[in-house]
Amino acid sequence: MKLKRVFQLIGLALLVCAGSLGYLIWKELKGPTMGGDFSLTLRANPWTFSEKAKSVNLIYFGYAKCPDVCPMSLSYVGTAFSKLSQEDLKKIRFLFVSVDQENDDPNNVADYATNFFPEFLGLSGSKKQIDETIKLFPASYMVEKNPKSYLGYSIIHTDRVFILNKKGIVIDTIDSLRDSDVILQKIKEHI
């Protein structure tokens, strides 16, 4: 009787191990799943990722009225882009998505993005479009009202660049946006 119980326990343990192993193999084979197609606007014209995507696409969420972090991060990305060859530039696209739907004018967002590199695209959209887009990625934003400030608010947002393939799937992340050489190296790994 005792022996039967031991065998039952061993069988159960083996089953759990096999299940876990199977899940890990399935997860590995399935690959990354974050990301996807999304639709926003460029200067108030519809803009859909799947129609405009290049081989390698970079996306960053911020806002044009951000005085410190966004321009700093975008400057480093812009510097990295300026070191790419013309051939490489044909394969890559950078998207700056404004999460400040209430205050960022779409034309201003588009202009703002080009400050850092002429080919950067500054995208806007309705709140629904922006929220649906950001939900696809491991990113978020939150508007924080501040009546004591001249602007009246600030936005807490993710400060990361996501590298997407042509289908919009996240294939890599650039967490450190304070070194253009690190950014360049990451870009080159995917071109």
Binding site: K65, P67, D111, Y150
Partner: protein
């Protein structure tokens, strides 16, 4: 005789006040004062500077005016698990014999709505009140992409 001693006393008092004033003026030193040229598509920009407190007492720094902008504030950027937030602060405190560095991604001057065209190479007067005393510093306007900056001293 009385006049002479009064003159000597006044001379000593004057020299003492002058020396105290001289030391006080050098208590605070500003370096790397710079403002990024406002960007197309945005009505805000930021200013940065390093402030050294050479005195043996803490100093409270309050921004009192910035030439060329409608509004100005002191802020601090805070990073938490890859998310950036910004907090408005009324003043900065510099510990005795230490430096306060206003730098990108940290403490900074936030400047809103330029009231005239502000271009690369301009020099703008920025005034701080440090424990009640006003300090005027010339900030150099530099482009965002430029990493080197001039050293402006108070």
């Amino acid at each position: 005789m009385k006049h002479r001693s009064e003159f000597v006393r006044s001379l000593f008092v004057g020299l003492f006040l002058l020396s105290v004033g001289g030391f006080a003026a050098e208590d605070i030193k500003f370096t790397d004062a710079r403002i990024f040229t406002p960007l197309k598509g945005s009505n805000v920009t930021a200013g940065y500077v390093e402030i050294e407190n050479k005195s043996k007492s803490p100093r409270k720094v309050v921004l009192s005016s910035v030439e060329g902008f409608k509004a100005f504030e002191t802020h601090e950027t805070i990073e938490d698990a890859g998310k950036m937030s910004m907090k408005k602060v009324d003043e900065y405190t510099i510990a005795p014999e230490s430096k306060l560095e206003l730098k990108p991604g940290g403490k900074h001057l936030m400047l809103f709505d330029p009231i005239r065209k502000i271009a690369d190479g301009d020099s703008l007067a920025v005034k701080f009140k440090i424990d009640g005393k006003e300090h005027s510093v010339q900030f150099k306007v530099i482009p965002r992409t430029k990493t080197d900056h001039n050293h402006d001293h108070h």
